[in-house]
């Protein structure tokens, strides 16, 4: 349900931390849950699972292609296999294996969770930054692709993926992120959540940019502009109804994401818009470039992923409406 109440956006835990905690709970509930990691368990937070279930945790060493296909083998043999690494390594080094050993045969129990996505990992720089993962994961037939915005969303979506029949990619991040949801918020894979009601424009975001979209909506409200905010936590399959409604009712959409604009959520929203009610669209995201080292805050600012960038895109879109 949409609410008009202001979001406090107090800092919570990182989505990777929420993932690690969720895995332990799921491991306790289901003995078939197993986890593979590639020498990054202290960063992906699968170390919590390893500690409690050493027999069901498989350290694969720095060999992501092998890890992804091992996960596929485990899932084929009946396990619910979570495979985790930094998003850029899992998706790029494991892409061929995601394609041939998971997507093509349609291995339902396979769940890949990428951490350290986007540019907000900061100082480590572009070789570790995953800005193509949504595009690559969405290009795999049959894959479900999610990008939760906070702890509550992460725990709920990781949990939902266990009983979900289909291969899944979940994108999480390194930094602590603002709390958006109440603990009892319900999530359904493929169904977006309207966080703020609005009629003049719609801001659609995923992951880190959901909080920025909320902040942008508050700024716009101060200017007398009523902005709807949608958390598109599931990027594939996408919530066509919510997009079509937004296009028809607000006639202007800004898509906001910590991902290349060429291949992220934006192009997928645009596809739905073009197939339903064409409307003005703007895109906030990474523009055909790799980033650099810096603090997460500096990078988010330099590469234009703040609420003020969303506000500017909204102004531009409204001027073209």
């Amino acid at each position: 349900m949409a609410t008009k109440t202001k979001y406090e956006l107090k800092t919570g835990v990182a989505t990777r931390e929420a993932f690690g905690r969720a895995l332990v709970e799921l491991g306790r509930e289901n003995k078939d849950v197993v986890v593979c990691d590639a020498d990054l368990s202290k960063s992906t937070m699968t170390l919590y699972f390893q500690k409690e279930f050493p027999d069901r945790f498989f350290e694969c060493g720095i060999a992501e292609a092998n890890m992804v296909a091992i996960g596929a083998g485990l899932a084929t043999a009946g396990k619910i296999a979570f495979v985790s690494s930094f998003s850029c390594f899992a998706i790029n080094k494991g892409f061929e294996q995601l394609r041939v050993t998971v997507a093509y045969p349609g291995v339902h129990n396979f769940k890949c969770v990428g951490t350290h996505s986007g540019i907000s990992i900061g100082e480590d720089g572009p070789s570790q930054m995953s800005i193509e993962d949504i595009g690559l994961a969405c290009s795999l037939p049959g894959f479900t692709v999610m990008s939760p915005a906070d702890e509550v969303a992460t725990k709920a979506l990781v949990r939902a993926s266990v009983s979900y029949a289909g291969p899944v990619f979940i994108r999480t991040g390194r930094p602590k992120v603002p709390i958006i949801y109440q603990a009892d918020q319900k999530f359904e894979i493929g169904k977006s959540i309207e966080l703020v009601e609005g009629k003049d424009i719609t801001l659609i975001a995923h992951g880190l940019l959901v909080a920025e979209a909320i902040r942008a909506a508050e700024t716009l409200e101060g200017e007398g502009i009523s902005a709807r905010v949608i958390d598109m936590h599931t990027i594939k399959p996408i919530d066509r109804d919510a997009i079509a409604r937004a296009a028809a009712e607000t006639k202007c959409i800004v898509v906001c994401e910590e991902h290349l604009v060429e291949s992220g959520l934006g192009v997928r929203v645009a596809q739905v818009v073009s197939e339903t009610t064409p409307c003005v669209m703007e895109y906030v995201g990474i523009q055909n470039t790799y980033a650099e080292s810096g603090t997460p805050e500096e990078l988010i600012e330099k590469y234009g992923l703040l609420a003020k960038n969303v506000v500017a895109a909204a102004h531009k879109g409204l001027s073209r409406k």
Partner: protein, 273 residues
């Protein structure tokens, strides 16, 4: 499935499988005869003597599993599975045709009793490792067998998986290399030499057996030996002849990926008998 220990019976099945391979590839007009013919004794020994499996119950959880990592040699696998009763024998000549269950490379969407969809080289051992880990975790008696090619062993992922299995002491896993010395562009030693293979696998921590891959008794003994090995996986380096059984195909790189003509089919079937 009832096991056939009798070597003469197994050899007779090998002749049938070689005939199937030649006939289905001729009908398909494309495909890979050389590496199918080199692997015949290995697959026949596995499916008719070694594997614990039940074609009437292909998803039996305690079954042994076989993965053909060198998926382009699908014809040998299709023939053996059909001879076992998994799939219809009378459809083998639909190989590679639209709508056929006998796809160009093994495809689980069309044959659910396959353990894996393969064709992109280098991935079968990793898949087999996942299955071996899962069955060990569930304390099942299942063993997992993976066949790779020698040319395929140029893939980096082969050696990632080769490092993994001994580290995890996966003694329910056997990898067989069909060492037929030829790949698409020519002889393996001229393209990028993979030798010495047995020494490589041994150095990676595998119990290693080198044998004549066309000797059924040697294969039977090796699979039995592998079953007794505790704490490490087994690698079998099977020295084979590409195109084995058809004189003009033997050791001829041309027949890695060229189907026989109808005239060649006749000559081949006469030789196989």
């Amino acid at each position: 499935m009832k096991k056939t220990k009798n070597v003469e019976e197994l050899q007779a099945i090998c002749r049938k499988v070689r005939r199937d391979i030649i006939v289905m590839l001729t009908a398909a007009k494309s495909g890979h005869p050389g590496g199918s013919l080199s692997a015949v004794e290995i697959l026949v020994t596995l499916y008719f003597d070694v594997l614990r499996h039940d074609p009437a119950n292909p998803k039996w959880p305690d079954r042994d599993r076989f993965i053909l990592s060198k998926g382009h040699c699908a014809p040998v696998l299709y023939s053996v599975m059909a001879e076992c009763g998994y799939t219809p024998i009378d459809q083998l000549n639909t190989l590679r045709k639209l709508g056929s269950i006998y796809q160009g490379h093994p495809d689980m969407r069309f044959i659910p009793s396959l353990e894996a969809s393969t064709g992109s080289l280098g991935e079968g051992i990793s898949l087999g490792i996942g299955m071996a880990l899962a069955t060990r975790l569930d304390k099942r008696p299942s063993r997992t067998y993976v066949m790779v090619g020698d040319g395929e062993s140029q893939e980096g992922q082969i050696w990632e998986s080769a490092m993994f299995a001994p580290d995890k002491k996966l003694d329910n896993l056997v990898v067989i290399t069909d060492y037929n010395k030829i790949q698409l562009d020519g002889f393996v030693k001229d393209i990028m030499d993979v030798s010495p293979l047995a020494e490589k696998w041994k150095a990676f921590g595998w119990h290693t057996i080198e044998l004549d891959g066309h000797s059924i008794p040697a294969l039977q003994a090796a699979f039995a030996e592998a079953e007794q090995v505790k704490g490490k996986p087994t690698a079998i380096i099977a020295n084979t002849i590409k195109g084995k059984g058809v004189s003009f195909m033997e050791n001829n790189p041309k027949y890695h990926g060229v189907a026989p003509t109808e005239d060649e089919e006749k000559r081949a079937l006469q030789e196989i008998g």
